[in-house]
């Protein structure tokens, strides 16, 4: 029963994506919505990304210093480990999990409200492909903005780690050396590539839950929760595959 329901839901998701990935009817209108969504989904998320990344970078650095550092380890280990954790997992996967909560619930509740207040029906009556008009700019905007958010996240994590040296937790030269030690550029690309997949998952899955809402405000709330839970689970699963494929 559960498996057949899941397959049916996946089928409906694919059907919706088939409608979403149609060419926009008016590029002018698509462009307007696209820019609006880049601001709403990307720029408006910058604050939370910066704040969380700064503190997580700082905390990782402190934890490693306290738990791993020993006289047998080189001084740069703390900074180096912080950098690798930020680049390889936090700035792409964990940050996208956080965004699944913020952006995913935003997308699902916005589209869900449009559905229950008949705004989606109004678009259909006008002869507009509502799925493409409402969802495509959101997917395109999040995919465009996510690399910038990932880069900001990593940078803020490094700054957070560096900040711990300013309050005397760790030696400033050790952090600087660690952040620069044995840098592998591919890790940045890997992080960016993974985030593009996660951005598609967050935006399309959340939009699916919002677009298929039936009922009222209670159902919009439920769709919003389902969107966050499903996006998070899919991000975690795909992270395993992407990491093993890209490493």
């Amino acid at each position: 029963m559960y498996i057949s329901d899941s397959i049916a839901t996946f089928g409906r998701y694919l059907q919706l994506m088939w409608r979403v990935l149609a060419l926009p009817e008016r590029w002018r209108m698509f462009g307007r919505e696209y820019v609006k969504e880049m601001a709403s989904l990307g720029v408006d998320s910058l604050g939370i990304v910066v704040l969380i990344s700064f503190f997580i970078g700082a905390v990782i650095c402190i934890q490693i210093k306290l738990n791993i550092a020993s006289p047998w380890m080189p001084g740069w280990t703390t900074g180096y480990t912080t950098r690798e954790i930020m680049l390889l997992e936090f700035s792409s996967s964990i940050m996208c999990l956080i965004l699944a909560g913020k952006v995913g619930s935003n997308i699902a509740s916005e589209i869900g409200t449009m559905k229950v207040t008949q705004q989606i029906d109004a678009l259909e009556i006008m002869g507009v492909n509502s799925a493409s008009f409402v969802i495509l700019p959101k997917i395109a905007a999040l995919i465009t903005m996510i690399p910038f958010l990932v880069i900001f996240s990593a940078l803020m994590g490094f700054i957070g780690a560096y900040a711990t040296s300013l309050v005397g937790v760790i030696n400033v030269d050790d952090v600087t050396a660690g952040l620069q030690h044995d840098f592998n550029q591919w890790y940045v690309w890997m992080s960016l590539i993974k985030s593009l997949f996660f951005a598609f998952i967050i935006s399309s899955v959340s939009a699916f839950y919002g677009y298929t809402v039936e009922g009222g405000s209670f159902d919009v709330g439920k769709a919003s929760t389902d969107a966050v839970v499903s996006s998070s689970i899919l991000i975690l699963f795909s992270d395993i595959f992407l990491t093993s494929m890209l490493s």
């Binding site: 009817e25 008016r26 002018r28 209108m29 609006k36 409200t113 449009m114 207040t117 008949q118 705004q119 029906d121 109004a122 259909e124 009556i125 006008m126 002869g127 507009v128």
Partner: protein, 251 residues
């Protein structure tokens, strides 16, 4: 002209519409009346193509909307305007942007002409001055008027209204009814209004269809309704003391 032939619609095996035949004529305000749950909204959604009937045909000037290609369907939708129960204005857009939306999507006018046309439509529904307000900042009656302005922006051939007076006070309801009626005449549109508001029936009902439990029970004009002997219709129409007294006074 819109013609319905034996429209049936079932959800999960439960039949909501049980073979509706009807004709909605050009230049007339056609009313679909009936109690809540009688199938009015389902019928109008079948007519506009939001639902596909289980069986039967919806003919627009002889062409079945459900047999049309995707492109033909999109074109016929551009000839429709619809006013929803909740007005269904786009929250994220101002009143002016809402009215401009169909023009932005489907007209080749330049920006100045689109703004001019949208402002004309807003003035036609007495909403001049509310252009920059957002739907959340205006009253329910103003939202309905803005929805009418958006519906007529592209000079539609067909206008559909799903309970346009729902949630409005009697005075505002009359204003909305008169507006729909005068616009119907002005543009010679085929207008179909879903309502259970008896003031609308008596005020603008040129042709009335009465639905009960998914069946067309009665069809006629507002003058014929007063002398109808259909029991189900009479129990619906004359449920209120006021209309009962009007009927008694007429007799």
């Amino acid at each position: 002209m819109i013609e319905l032939k034996q429209i049936r619609k079932a959800f999960d095996g439960r039949e909501v519409l049980k073979g509706i035949d009807a004709v909605f004529e050009d230049g007339k305000t056609n009313l679909i009346i009936g109690q809540s749950g009688s199938g009015k909204t389902v019928l109008i959604k079948n007519v506009v193509g939001l639902y596909v009937p289980t069986s039967g045909q919806v003919l627009y000037d002889g062409r079945d909307i459900n047999a049309m290609t995707k492109k033909e369907k999109a074109l016929i939708h551009r000839e429709m305007g619809m006013i929803f129960q909740s007005a269904a204005l786009f929250d994220s857009m101002s009143v002016l942007e809402n009215v401009m939306f169909p023009l932005d999507m489907f007209s080749d006018m330049n920006t100045a002409d689109r703004i001019k046309r949208a402002k004309y439509c807003l003035s036609r529904v007495n909403l001049a001055g509310a252009e920059d307000k957002f739907p959340g900042e205006i009253s329910g009656g103003m939202q309905k008027r803005a929805a009418i302005a958006r519906a007529i922006a592209l000079n539609p051939k067909y206008l559909f209204c799903d309970e346009p007076n729902s949630g409005l006070d009697p005075k505002t309801s009359i204003v909305i009814d008169q507006l729909i009626h005068s616009i119907t005449k002005e543009y010679n549109m085929t207008t179909v209004v879903n309502t259970h508001d008896m003031n609308s029936v008596m005020g603008i009902g040129e042709k009335i269809i009465y639905l009960a439990n998914g069946v067309k029970e009665w069809e006629g004009t507002k003058d014929q309704i007063m002398s109808s002997t259909n029991e189900s219709l009479n129990s619906f129409i004359f449920a209120s003391d006021l209309f009962r007294k009007v009927k008694e006074a007429n007799h």
